[in-house]
């Protein structure tokens, strides 16, 4: 690894709270969160600058959460990350939001269920498994909470069906409505432990952590072709005409 450019800049705009983090390996150097509402273009650069301080020259990887999430908000941070990579010629890592959530789990959680609220009583659900315990990674100087692998695809499921994927004790990571968590506990035959809501603290540092711990799983595609995960209804409707009519 290039010593001079060993930092990871991580961005997340897939959650209701956006975040940017700067990491040295697994260590978080800076972490910023903000509420952008619909104005992602407005808040992104200012917060990235604040997270970076003057360390831009030392960034070797730009990691960005690829969703699922709001289409335009995902594209805002991904476009920003691509532009930055185009300028700095850094590595680009696209991390799925569920994978980043899974990396927010404590080191002793074996089975992890990630839930991303999708509105209308639905969640994006994906299960993960921790393959190894906390350890130094070969060729890397930080310690991360093991290696986490997905078990199956990310699915859009109604809140009433959340328990169906459970086959043992599980750690739940994500943003979950308390009522939905209660009914999940009731319906499950297994203990359900719920992790920190990442609303206040931001997901970006776990995007960076996932990129550091397992860059190959995190980044199946390059900056040239990376696209967000479009999991929700297609949003492809009738053409607009005269969009700039005034």
């Amino acid at each position: 690894m290039d010593e001079a450019r060993k930092l990871t800049l991580a961005l997340d705009t897939s959650m209701p709270t956006s975040s940017a983090a700067l990491l040295n390996g697994a260590d978080v150097i800076a972490n910023r969160t903000w509420q952008a509402g619909r104005r992602h273009s407005m808040y992104l650069e200012r917060n990235v600058r604040a997270a970076l301080a003057a360390e831009l020259d030392h960034v070797g990887i730009v990691a960005v959460a690829s969703g699922p999430g709001g289409f335009s908000s995902l594209r805002a941070s991904m476009a920003f990350a691509k532009g930055l990579c185009g300028a700095l010629d850094t590595g680009f890592v696209s991390v799925s939001t569920p994978l980043a959530l899974a990396y927010s789990s404590p080191a002793d959680a074996r089975s992890i269920l990630t839930l991303v609220p999708a509105g209308s009583g639905q969640y994006f659900m994906q299960a993960f498994e921790r393959r190894r315990g906390p350890q130094p990674l070969p060729g890397r100087d930080g310690i991360v909470g093991g290696l986490i692998k997905a078990v199956g695809e990310c699915k859009l499921v109604p809140q009433t069906a959340l328990h169906e994927g459970l086959t043992g004790p599980v750690y739940v990571a994500g943003g979950v409505n308390p009522d939905d968590l209660d009914s999940l506990r009731e319906a499950s035959n297994w203990p359900v432990e719920f992790g920190v809501q990442l609303i206040a603290t931001g997901l970006a540092r776990f995007v960076g952590l996932a990129a550091y711990a397992d860059p190959e799983q995190a980044a199946p595609i390059s900056a040239m072709t990376a696209v967000p995960q479009y999991m929700r209804g297609a949003g492809i409707t009738a053409p607009v005409r005269g969009w700039a009519r005034r």
Partner: protein, 374 residues
């Protein structure tokens, strides 16, 4: 940004500007060196939208994010330029499709931040006018005040450009944009999207037979520089559906052809296409020429996708008494070069964007306060 250009042959704001345009369906990036296009790479999405008969916003946004990094790399490659030569990034931040603008603007912000160079936010309509500065010697550039006709599938407006950055909207369409009317009529005539070039081809095909165009109504809207194309479009719809009133029928089909048109004969379609095209062009030309006269313009600029229309180019040239400025054909439709050109003038006036610059899908042309340096 002092020192950024050490060794460059110019010290002004004009070299080298990278322009990014994603306001609609083209992902386009150009490198502009003064008034010369070093490279222009445009990834058109037309094929993706054609089957919907128009631009689908979500498809446009998805194509932009999927291709923008490759378009950028290709533009640098084609220019044989390194990132260190770029002095400023210019990007369209409105008007346009919100989701599409988001991609270009944030890519531009990341790029400018990474390169440590300024970013300027460009108004897309203004950029169209600046296409006429490109590839020309400064002695041939438009003189102010200039009346600008900006016509495309998304916009139809007449503006008065009194200086760089000083625009006044003096007329606009009240319904369909001119290019949009071409698209809709092309559809009725069974032609593909986009309608403008398709209609021109149909007319060309019928040219040898010296067909008389049908006589379509021209909405001149007296006392204003606004346009309306919906009545014209509706007349074509109703003619096709056989639903014209007796007076309308007599006027439109004065020289016959009604049965052939309703039946869908190619020659009758060509006559309708020609009639429609001249009606649109007549209105655009009359309004622009009148505006040039009233505002004592020293030049007239015609830009936007419809500025590629040959009949419009011909007729406007004959109608205005002052120098006429038309972009090269390839710079009529949306492109990164015109954004870079507009950006160069913004940079020259020190109008550097703040990190908070947002997209503005409904951005209007602004009149800046008169700059003190002039």
């Amino acid at each position: 940004m002092a020192g950024a250009l050490s060794g460059s042959r110019r010290s002004d704001a004009f070299t080298v500007i990278l322009g990014i345009e994603t306001s609609c369906d083209d992902t386009s990036i150009a490198l502009l060196d003064a008034y010369t296009v070093r490279s222009l790479v445009t990834q058109s999405q037309l094929a993706d939208h054609a089957r919907y008969g128009g631009i689908v916003p979500e498809i446009a946004s998805r194509r932009h994010i999927a291709t923008i990094a490759a378009v950028h790399a290709a533009a640098l490659d084609a220019a044989g330029a390194g990132a260190e030569e770029i002095r400023c990034v210019a990007v369209t931040h409105g008007p346009g499709l919100s989701g599409a603008l988001v991609v270009g603007l944030n890519f531009a912000k990341g790029l400018a931040m990474g390169l440590g160079i300024p970013l300027v936010g460009v108004n897309h309509l203004e950029a169209h006018a600046y296409a006429t500065w490109i590839g020309r010697d400064p002695s041939e550039h438009p003189e102010f005040p200039a009346v600008c006709l900006i016509v495309s599938g998304g916009h139809s407006e007449i503006t008065l450009m009194r200086d760089h950055g000083d625009h006044r909207l003096i007329g606009r369409t009240r319904d369909d944009a001119a290019g949009e009317a071409f698209d809709k009529v092309a559809r009725v005539l069974g032609l593909e999207f986009p309608g403008g070039p398709a209609i021109e081809r149909l007319i060309d095909d019928g040219r040898d037979s010296h067909l008389t165009p049908f006589q379509l109504p021209r909405a001149m809207l007296e006392g204003t520089y606004d346009f309306s194309f919906s009545g014209l479009k509706t007349a074509v719809y109703r003619a096709k559906a056989g639903k014209l009133g007796p007076a309308e029928t007599r006027r439109i089909f004065k020289e016959g052809g009604q049965t052939e048109f309703e039946r869908g004969d190619a020659s009758a379609h060509a006559r309708m296409a020609a009639g429609f095209q001249s009606a649109v062009v007549d209105v655009l030309v009359a309004k622009t020429a009148a505006a040039a006269e009233e505002f004592e313009a020293k030049s007239v600029i015609v830009a936007g996708g419809v500025a590629a229309n040959r009949l419009l180019r011909q007729k406007i040239r004959a109608a205005v008494g002052v120098p006429l400025h038309l972009p090269e054909i390839r710079l009529c439709t949306d492109n990164g070069a015109m954004v870079a050109m507009a950006g160069a003038f913004l940079l020259k006036r020190g109008r550097i964007a703040s990190p908070d610059l947002d997209v503005d899908p409904n951005l209007r042309l602004a009149s800046e306060p008169v700059a003190t340096e002039r």
